[in-house]
């Protein structure tokens, strides 16, 4: 009888091994599907709640963004969505940056339009009140766009961040809405959580504050350069105008600068092993976009192992951020990226499509704006 038991167990093991094979084949097949398909799947891209992909049903048409003289790109505010208007400065007009990496203000309006409505906006009575979830998206008025764009420009200028390099992450995370509020109370344009605020406060805030205090480029944002509280009940402090979005964006900027430094140093440390025809700057940009969703050190660890595993057989195409082919870095991340074991597959899936999702969103917004207006850095296109 023991024998029979063992035979049954053995057959069970063979069946399990077969299932493993099937899963691997399915995974590879999935990895070979086009990026567009992968990205267009209704995935909750931001694990904390928001998802500004075009997969949102009934997303409003952004055709009005094409600048036809008789059509206003702005919304007519209603009683339901005008709740932020009274908190905005009375006289606000667009101040367009002349920096070569500056984005067109309509890139931001495009991102705001693509954001689900209603669903991921929160409202606050005061800076210290508890946010109310699932509210209508704020009215896309000229005043609102000017306020958000000018704030974004001021923060980018102070931190010397190329606007087009940070745009894709923020557009994807929050649709550039001051009061975006995710399921886990991730707040504002940078989708700040208590843990993230705490980590920045503990490690970097003071260093960046000192730098800002000694730079003439930061004068405009210095009044808002204050640490945010970490408690969930005080999350309105990271969402409410007029302190926000500047106070909130300062955290995104600190994160961008520190992540960019880790990514740049990491990529440059393997420079000699990278294919000669690979655009290294574009790779740094793409991995910095990804680092808004996952830790930059883990990206570099995965990159190093990818290079080490593939040896000398690497080509520039292998670094494309798509899962079109099983050999790309994106496909490798789907199988190997270090994530918590509890939700390994779903996290890796999101990580491996994050960059194309952010870039495709940027492309779609560029398409809606029309003309030659750019929202993305040109090098990134080559990695799709």
């Amino acid at each position: 009888m023991t024998y029979i038991g063992l035979v049954i167990l053995f057959l069970g093991l063979i069946a399990q091994a077969h299932v493993e094979d099937v899963i691997t084949a399915e995974d590879q097949e999935e990895a070979q599907t086009t990026t567009k398909k992968a990205v267009d799947k209704v995935i909750d891209l931001n694990r904390h709640g928001t998802n500004v992909l075009n997969s949102v049903p009934n997303a409003p048409c952004a055709c009005a963004l094409r600048t036809e003289p008789q059509t206003s790109p702005y919304e007519v505010c209603t009683t339901e969505n005008s709740y932020l208007e009274k908190s905005l400065p009375k006289k606000t007009s667009l101040v367009v940056s002349k920096d070569s990496h500056a984005i067109d203000p309509f890139c931001i309006l495009g991102a705001q339009r693509r954001f689900p409505d209603p669903g991921f906006a929160g409202t606050c009575a005061t800076l210290t009140s508890y946010p109310k979830k699932n509210q209508a998206r704020p009215c896309l008025s000229e005043k609102y766009l000017s306020f958000v764009y000018n704030s974004f420009s001021k923060v980018a200028k102070c931190f010397q961040i190329p606007e087009d390099e940070i745009f894709p992450s923020l557009a994807l995370e929050s649709g550039f809405h001051v009061n975006a509020l995710g399921r886990n109370m991730d707040a504002g344009i940078s989708q700040l959580t208590g843990d993230l605020i705490q980590a920045v406060n503990d490690s970097y805030f003071d260093t960046f504050l000192k730098k800002a205090q000694s730079s003439s480029k930061c004068t405009a944002i210095l009044p808002y350069f204050k640490p945010l509280p970490t408690e969930t009940k005080l999350r309105c402090a990271a969402m409410m105008p007029p302190n926000n979005p500047i106070q909130n964006l300062i955290y995104a900027a600190i994160l961008f600068k520190t992540n960019h430094q880790v990514i740049e140093t990491g990529v440059k440390s393997v420079k000699g092993k990278l294919p000669k025809d690979l655009d290294m700057e574009a790779l740094i940009q793409a991995l910095t976009v990804l680092s808004f969703n996952v830790a930059p050190g883990s990206i570099i660890l995965t990159l190093r192992q990818f290079i080490s595993s593939r040896g000398v057989n690497l080509g520039a195409d292998d670094f494309k951020m798509t899962r079109d082919f099983p050999n790309t870095f994106a496909s490798y991340m789907k199988l190997n990226f270090p994530v918590p074991p509890e939700n390994e597959n779903s996290r890796r899936n999101v990580i491996s499509v994050y960059v194309p999702a952010a870039l495709n969103l940027g492309r779609k917004i560029e398409g809606q704006i029309g003309g030659d207006k750019k929202c993305l850095p040109p090098g990134l296109e080559r990695l799709l």
Partner: protein, 125 residues
């Protein structure tokens, strides 16, 4: 009789399963590094061991990544201690670089082991 049969089958099954890598504990190598640290109290030795084990060809790539990650975290702890950086700040840097800064509780296995080592070094953390 049935109980005896069941017991025999389970013992044999357990012995078979132990030999199959499919069922091996994924982070056993990481735990071994932690053991090395506890036994030797040497961060250098734990770091070198992690780097050395990561070169083992029979390990899967994701295991190698985690071992190299643990070596990097131990390096960060050493660096922080040398520069007299407060332990809380070292922990935040580890989480920002290797964990999930948005959610402290969502960490890969190597970050958990790294934090355990940091807690041994800084009991007040």
């Amino acid at each position: 009789m049935l109980a005896a049969w069941l017991r025999k089958t389970l013992v044999v099954a357990f012995l078979i399963l132990r030999t199959i890598p499919l069922f091996a504990q994924e982070d056993v190598e990481l735990q071994n590094i932690y053991k090395t640290w506890r036994e030797s109290s040497s961060l250098d030795r734990a770091k070198n061991d992690a780097q050395k084990v990561a070169t083992k060809s029979q390990l899967k790539d994701d295991q190698k990544i985690q071992l190299n990650g643990l070596a990097s975290i131990i390096g960060m702890i050493q660096d922080g201690l040398r520069k007299k950086v407060p332990c809380k700040k070292i922990e935040s840097s580890i989480l920002i670089n290797y964990g999930d800064p948005r959610d402290k509780s969502a960490k890969p296995a190597f970050v958990k082991v790294g934090q355990k080592i940091l807690k041994d070094v800084c009991p007040k953390l």
